[in-house]
């Protein structure tokens, strides 16, 4: 009985031992493209990205963080939840650094990431990225006319932001521009007009065309895919600069998926039976991250990893497309409120019908049309300032704004497009032709000023001209104003032509405006000098910048030492190593040596003729020191071949 039981037990164990590896391997074998976010190839890559996030919310750098947001969203996670502990999320990081994005490609990347995160690209980090991108449209295409890649990503971004590709002039024109620049011979696209085709840009062009409504079976798309196929190597990947790489494969796979094809299907296999997904996997490391190429992490492995995640999930760009917002009812108009001593409000509002209560009588007035006072009411709500009205003269009049009440002959008056109105603000019905409602504290005789600047983005040190003019109600004409004070980085005075030249020698963002006794303060014009400043300067403030060095920072060069070929009793030729102090403090230098070479380096390494553990050095700020390193091989040394070791140069603050 016992023998039978033992025999059965052994049999069961043997069968289990045979089946177990198969059972364990089964899930991995079952996983096929497109992969789910829970499969190791994707989840390991996601874990790597999560590990790279720092306390600011950033992953690697600003651009990589935007790509990572797209990957996170593609994997079905909320990027707003990606944070280290209670620190800001990766979306918070992008918002806090929104000012970093520049040019069409920068705006497009932001829109794609913001939309993927479910946020509003028209109001993110204080910037309207859709308006910024649309401002890059030159009437024919988006951004630099010599570039094509800013059109590919621009089209994808506008579609992602909810613009209708069937009606958007910018998208329609840009698609025409893309189609016109498809290479006539190989049918691919390049990064620039007239340049050689490449897979990355052809893939982007295909995704842009499909996002814009082109059929995947259209000639442009199918020819583009055929071009990508011609670049396929035996390993299944796509050729780029002489070899395959993870980034090119990822975008190629995305374009194939966007066209509704399976990149692992027979049509996308090389002659050796490999497909681009096979080749993409060869770049995945043990830590889950994707390297650019074998043994080459590339400049931004996190960015490469984010793009690979999107490709493996079978997703493509744009990751998310926002629903277009229905147009707001009413009239959109700028409201500018000039107080006695300063501007109170200057921004656009949309006004429709309004309900306004007269403060003296508590009577509520329903104004069914968009009116000038309705615009003030909207501005007060948005700007969170108070205003007071009275109806004691038969209609609604404004008596106070933001605590400034009329006194003597001065009070609150209004103009529409600089023209004095003949009816009360509650009776002035606005329409789409009007641009600005100006409420101002002053007298009936005060004349409106207007300022214009011939260059709102001068370089630091380059002059620009401000011109001040006044509106003559009687003649309905604008006239130049002499002796008006123009406020920029300091005060200026206009000449007989109403002009003044202004030169600012540092990067700054400044509101330039004009004043003169008996006149209404002018509109402000924002001038961005050089790179501008993240915080807008008002009037005469100055920008301060400083570049702080790390307390302790130094470099060591080279990072490997080669003593050549040596034998027992030999002393190596001296090898020089250079240390440079790149920090703020004077450095004390010591060394540590370890090896897996039977103490070859521990016993035989010398720096400046001293045993390494007796060596001490100091390096002053901005200074470099060269140290001579030699290796002595003991007479009785027994090992042969390559011997590994490590020398660490330690720096700390040097005592004075």
């Amino acid at each position: 009985m016992s023998r039978i039981f033992c025999s059965r037990l052994v049999t069961i164990l043997l069968i289990s031992a045979l089946l177990l590896p198969c059972l364990l391997a089964a899930p991995a074998m079952a996983a096929t493209y497109p992969y789910s976010a829970t499969e190791a190839v994707v989840s390991d890559a996601m874990d790597y990205l999560r590990w790279q996030q720092d306390n600011t919310g950033k992953i690697s750098n600003f651009a990589t963080s935007a790509w990572a947001v797209m990957a996170i969203a593609a994997a079905g996670e909320d990027p707003n939840d990606w944070k280290v502990g209670s620190h800001p999320s990766i979306v918070d990081y992008l918002a806090a650094n929104a000012a970093t994005a520049t040019a069409a490609n920068g705006y497009s990347r932001m829109i794609l990431a913001i939309a993927a995160a479910g946020e509003d690209p028209t109001d993110f980090g204080g910037r309207d990225f859709v308006a910024l991108l649309e401002a890059e449209y030159d009437g024919n295409q988006i951004g630099d006319a010599s570039l094509l890649n800013d059109d590919f990503w621009g089209v994808m971004a506008l579609v992602s932001a909810g613009r209708d590709p069937a009606t958007s002039t910018i998208i329609l024109d840009s698609v025409a521009f893309i189609l016109a620049n498809q290479d006539e011979v190989d049918h691919g696209w390049s990064w620039g007009v007239g340049q050689d085709s490449d897979v990355d840009d052809t893939a982007a062009a295909i995704m842009a065309l499909i996002a814009a409504g082109q059929s995947p079976s259209s000639a442009a798309v199918s020819n583009g895919l055929a071009y990508i196929k011609t670049t396929q190597m035996e390993n299944g990947g796509f050729l780029s600069w002489g070899a395959t790489n993870a980034d090119t494969n990822s975008w190629g796979i995305c374009a194939i998926a966007a066209a509704g094809q399976d990149p692992t299907s027979a049509g996308w296999e090389s002659g050796a039976g490999n497909d681009p997904v096979d080749n993409l996997f060869t770049f995945q490391q043990d830590g889950g991250q994707f390297y650019f190429q074998d043994d080459d992490p590339g400049a931004w492995p996190s960015q490469t990893t984010a793009k690979a995640i999107i490709a493996l999930l079978g997703d493509y760009f744009p990751i998310a497309v926002l629903e277009p917002e229905p147009p707001e009812p009413g009239v959109t108009v700028n409201v500018r409120i000039e107080g006695e001593n300063a501007n109170i409000w200057n921004d656009s509002v949309t006004v429709d019908e309004s309900w306004i209560t007269a403060d003296n009588s508590d009577v509520e007035y329903h104004l069914e049309d968009p009116t000038a006072i309705g615009a003030l009411d909207e501005a007060a709500e948005e700007g969170e300032f108070e205003y007071v009205t009275t109806d004691e003269y038969g209609s609604l009049f404004v008596t106070s704004i933001d605590g400034e009440e009329g006194e003597g002959m001065a009070g609150w008056l209004y103009r529409v497009d600089y023209i004095s109105a003949s009816v009360g603000a509650a009776d002035f019905i606005l329409d789409d032709s009007q641009q600005e409602v100006l409420f101002y504290y002053g007298e009936y005789t005060d004349i409106p000023l207007k300022i214009e600047v011939n260059n709102t983005t001068p370089d630091a040190g380059n002059s620009f001209t401000a011109t001040v003019s006044e509106y003559d109600d009687t003649m309905a004409q604008w006239y130049l104003v002499e002796d008006a004070t123009v406020y920029a980085d300091t005060d200026y005075t206009t000449d007989g032509n109403g002009e003044v030249g202004i030169t600012i020698y540092h990067d700054a963002t400044i509101d330039v405006y004009a004043e003169k006794d008996g006149y209404i303060r002018s509109n402000p014009v924002t001038v961005v000098v050089g790179e501008g400043s993240s915080q807008q300067s008002e009037g005469r403030s100055a920008t301060m910048t400083v570049d702080i060095l790390p307390a302790i920072s130094f470099s060591v060069s080279p990072n490997y030492l080669n003593f050549g070929v040596l034998g027992p009793r030999d002393i190596s030729h001296p090898v020089t190593i250079t240390l440079t102090n790149e920090g703020a403090w004077r450095l004390a230098i010591t060394t540590d040596v370890s090896d897996y070479a039977d103490n070859l380096y521990v016993d035989g390494l010398k720096l400046d003729h001293l045993k390494w553990n007796d060596f001490e050095g100091t390096i002053s700020r901005n200074d470099s020191e060269e140290y001579v390193v030699t290796l002595t091989v003991p007479e009785t040394y027994t090992l042969t071949g390559n011997q590994n070791g490590t020398i660490i140069f330690w720096a700390s603050e040097a005592p004075y």
Partner: protein, 172 residues
Amino acid sequence: MASKLVKASAVLLPIIGIVLAASSALALSVGVAPGKMDFTVRPGGTEVQTLNIINQSEQASQFQVYVEGGHQGWFEIKPAEFTLNAGEVRGVEIAVAPPLVTAAGDHDFDMCVVCLPPEAELRVGAGIKVPTHVEVTEFPVMALGWWIAIAAALLVLIIVIIVRLIARARYG
């Protein structure tokens, strides 16, 4: 690639000797801020500060952060190992938590930040030692009083429960 070729040729060399292959001579550059750290913490408490580490090399590098100077169990370093791309800065959270029974006093450590190139022959690393001072303050008297009061209350409660159990056992 150059490194691989030289390694391969080294293996093929027939002579008996020590061969140390050449590799690409890149520079490592590491920076930290602040250059000194001061913690003031009571026994049983925790103070967290951030040590910013900057990879000023022109290539991605691997970093490790650890503490030297005893009482290593007081420290929690997050992350202790990571990769920084060229020019990248990462804040490492250093948490110091001396046990409740620690006597008041001053303790000095070195927070070691080391950047190493990949494993190969005689690699040259760059490390920075950031002097780290930990002042363990007296356990707050108020807090101590509360602990004693809570302990006394618990003791009384336990005695009452035991007395009642004994009484039940005796008198049913």
